[in-house]
Amino acid sequence: MKSLSEIETTSKRASKAAGYSWGIAEEVGIGVRTLELFGLEGIKNLNEYFKSRVHNKFENLDLINKNNQSYKFPYCPIIFGISFLDQVKTLEKFDKIRLSNIAYPLLVLPFLSRSSEIIGKKIHYKFDNHEFLLNFNVKVFSKIFNDKCPIIAKNVEIIFLENKDNFSEEDWKSLYKLSEETFVEESDSLKKSAAGAGLTDND
């Protein structure tokens, strides 16, 4: 079994060898490490993408908009991921980003995961039939565990989820009521003696 340290170092060096700058290669190393840590096929996708770069062209999306349509070639997932990471504080105002035709969409995921941590919002990442919930770079929820990830994603949506409860007020109240059963009803004497502060604000 390869260690995560080996995975990161090899991915970084391979990315440099594939033509990216050292700074970008460092980002890819961390990204593939994250994918493998989450149990996703980082090494496999990166390897296949670099092989396909030898014979195919990809488009760099440096400045991301609300809707992004590639012209001739699929978008490079690495440059898109890094642009997204760098621009995320501007992009979150769009609520939803759409793009079409991106290669190896799994490779974008670690950049979105880190972006989720930076802005403090969960991110919903959808392409074709696959969905991921990215949770502040702590967890990734997905059903893709045993599925093969597509080489090209035709339609991609990235949705910034507002910070709100994912339960009803009714559920909360019910649970809170139960939790109150751990509290002690304060008598007059307890009110006087059990708290640390004085009885008036002027003492």
Partner: protein, 551 residues
């Protein structure tokens, strides 16, 4: 009185960093302190009459066990080499997380001796190999088997029976990643498991030499005297592999140096020092003279430094005894200011280390602050502006910005990774092949390049926009934002210049390990000694804290 932390632009110069010495903050000393009350055991010692076979040693506390597995092998004399290109060693070691099963031992028997070309698993924490100092080992066997103790003059010249030639950890060759163990309380300090491995290897070398001597002459042989054992350490040959580490881990480097600087600052701020602490400082300083006079090297570079050190340490002792009173307020501040004025860098840093000896209450809390969660600082704050970044660089790199990188002598060398061993190397850009595959370790040059780009960019431009056009500078943009928060994270020198001495970088790291007696064999590799004078495992529960000056 408030004393300022020392200026990083002075302390982080390579010549100064290359004058650092071990101290109470050093990792091998903090390792001993952490593991002193662990149960030590020799679990297995299955060597043949020539000392070849398997041995296992362990440290145990409650449910936690760390086991050193040693594989001692026969090699021919012409196969023995300290260089990283070697493929066979007298002994190979791994530190196993727990108690190894028979199956584990069988698996490791095939992998550990192969070192870099073997495969380890997440159950193994560190990996190492070592070669005998043949002259010393054979001499000790000869004498012990004849019923005599060895000639101390011969032992003193070398200081060890074996020297390691590499110690690996943190996920190399399949070893456990640091994340698996980083929350363990006993590992709350850098390189603690590497130190454990080296310490237990030292004990193996004593047990092996005793075993071989006894096998040779069972009736007459005697054991190596414990006092002699204690005065022997473990040697280490270290090459350039260590140098990139301190460039690639800026926040970690900062935390090491910052701990040292905080310790010094706090000691200088003590108004009145207790007599017992004064005595301990003076005693350690006096005793340490032996460490300097027994420091053997043939390196002219190091000999010059040792001579200056000896002269200046004697001068300091003389000053303290004849012209200084510890009754004055803030005595260590006065001493420090005197050192700055009157002594060489090597002596200043030597005495700064010794100043820490009496102050456990200052040093111990700092030991726990010497690790780093590096990933926390990886993200670039891309919403900040060019003006912010330019200000950071002007503040943190004033000397670097003065360097003219158009001059050949300032870009003479380059760092690369060798294909054969995947190890860092350093070479002449204008004479050797491969500079197009240069590693991103020429930080000074790249920071200057970034600065030149920033001064022609609009002040209000945000970093995300700048990066979309300058991805080749991304690694130094990240770095500058890290350095903003960590003043001691950067070497304030040009590491590719003609006049750079790479071993200064090794010396810095090794001083934090706790190494003694730096012996440069060229400008690119050196030999050192670790744990010389350290307590033996059976003595750990109650040992002399100043052992490093008292052997």
């Amino acid at each position: 009185m408030k004393v300022k932390l020392r200026d990083p632009n002075i302390i982080m110069k390579l010549s100064r960093l290359g004058s650092f010495h071990q101290s109470k903050l050093s990792f091998l000393r903090s390792f001993l302190e952490e593991f002193k009350d662990w149960e030590y055991k020799k679990d297995l010692f299955d060597l043949d009459e020539n000392g070849f076979g398997i041995a296992i040693y362990s440290f145990k506390k409650k449910d936690r066990v760390y086991s050193l597995i040693c594989f001692a092998n026969k090699i021919n004399n012409d196969e023995r080499s300290d260089r990283v290109i070697a493929t066979k060693w007298d002994a190979a070691f791994t530190l196993y997380d727990g108690v190894p099963s028979k199956l584990d031992i069988e698996r490791l028997k095939n992998e550990v001796p192969k070192q870099e070309v073997g495969r380890l698993s997440y159950k193994e924490l560190t990996l190492s190999r070592a070669n005998k100092s043949l002259r010393v080992f054979d001499h000790v066997v000869e004498n012990l088997s004849s019923g005599k103790q060895p000639d101390l003059n011969i032992l003193d010249k070398v200081g060890y029976l074996y020297r390691t030639t590499a110690v690996y950890g943190s996920g190399k060759f399949g070893l456990a990643d640091r994340f698996r163990i980083k929350n363990r309380e006993e590992i709350n300090g850098p390189f603690r498991l590497e130190m454990m491995l080296v310490y237990l290897v030292r004990q193996f070398t004593f047990d092996q030499v005793n075993h071989v001597a006894k096998s040779k002459n069972p009736k007459i042989a005697v054991k190596l005297d414990n006092v002699i054992c204690k005065n022997l350490g473990i040697g280490n040959s270290t090459g350039l592999g260590m140098a990139p580490f301190i460039v690639n881990h800026p926040t970690l480097l900062n935390n090491w140096i910052l701990s040292r600087e905080i310790a010094l600052k706090k000691i200088r701020e003590i108004k009145k020092v207790e007599n017992s602490k004064v005595d301990l400082f003076k005693k350690s300083l006096r005793n340490s003279i032996k460490n300097i006079t027994s420091w053997n090297t043939e390196s002219k570079y190091q000999l010059k430094k040792i001579n200056s050190l000896l002269t200046d340490v004697k001068k300091t002792i003389d000053f303290l005894e004849k012209k200084f009173s510890f009754d004055t307020e803030y005595p260590f501040n006065t001493i420090y200011l005197w050192l700055e004025k009157e002594t060489c860098d090597e002596c200043i840093e030597y005495i700064v280390s010794i100043m820490m000896e009496p102050f456990d209450e200052i040093v111990k809390p700092l030991v726990n602050q010497m690790s780093s969660e590096e990933e926390k600082y990886f993200n670039i704050p891309t919403n900040r502006t060019i003006e912010d970044l330019r200000n950071i660089i002007e503040k943190r790199y004033p000397n670097i910005l003065k360097i003219n990188f158009n001059k050949k002598e300032n870009i003479k060398n380059f760092w690369f990774i060798s294909k054969n061993k995947e190890e860092p190397r350093y070479s002449n850009r204008f004479e050797d092949k491969g500079y197009e595959l240069e590693q991103p370790l020429a930080i000074a040059r790249d920071i200057k390049k970034l600065y030149e780009e920033l001064i022609i960019s609009k002040n209000s431009l945000t970093i995300d926009k700048f990066l979309s056009k300058n991805s080749n500078l991304r690694h130094v943009v990240r770095r500058a934002f890290i350095i903003e928060k960590f003043p001691y994270a950067e070497i304030q020198d040009n590491t590719i210049a003609e006049n750079v001495v790479p071993i200064d970088m090794l010396r810095l790291k090794l001083s934090f390990f706790g190494a003694l007696k730096f012996d440069p064999r060229s400008d690119k590799w050196l030999r050192i000694c670790m744990f010389q004078g350290a307590p033996l495992p059976e003595e750990l529960r109650n040992y002399d804290q100043q052992w490093v000056y008292n052997f």
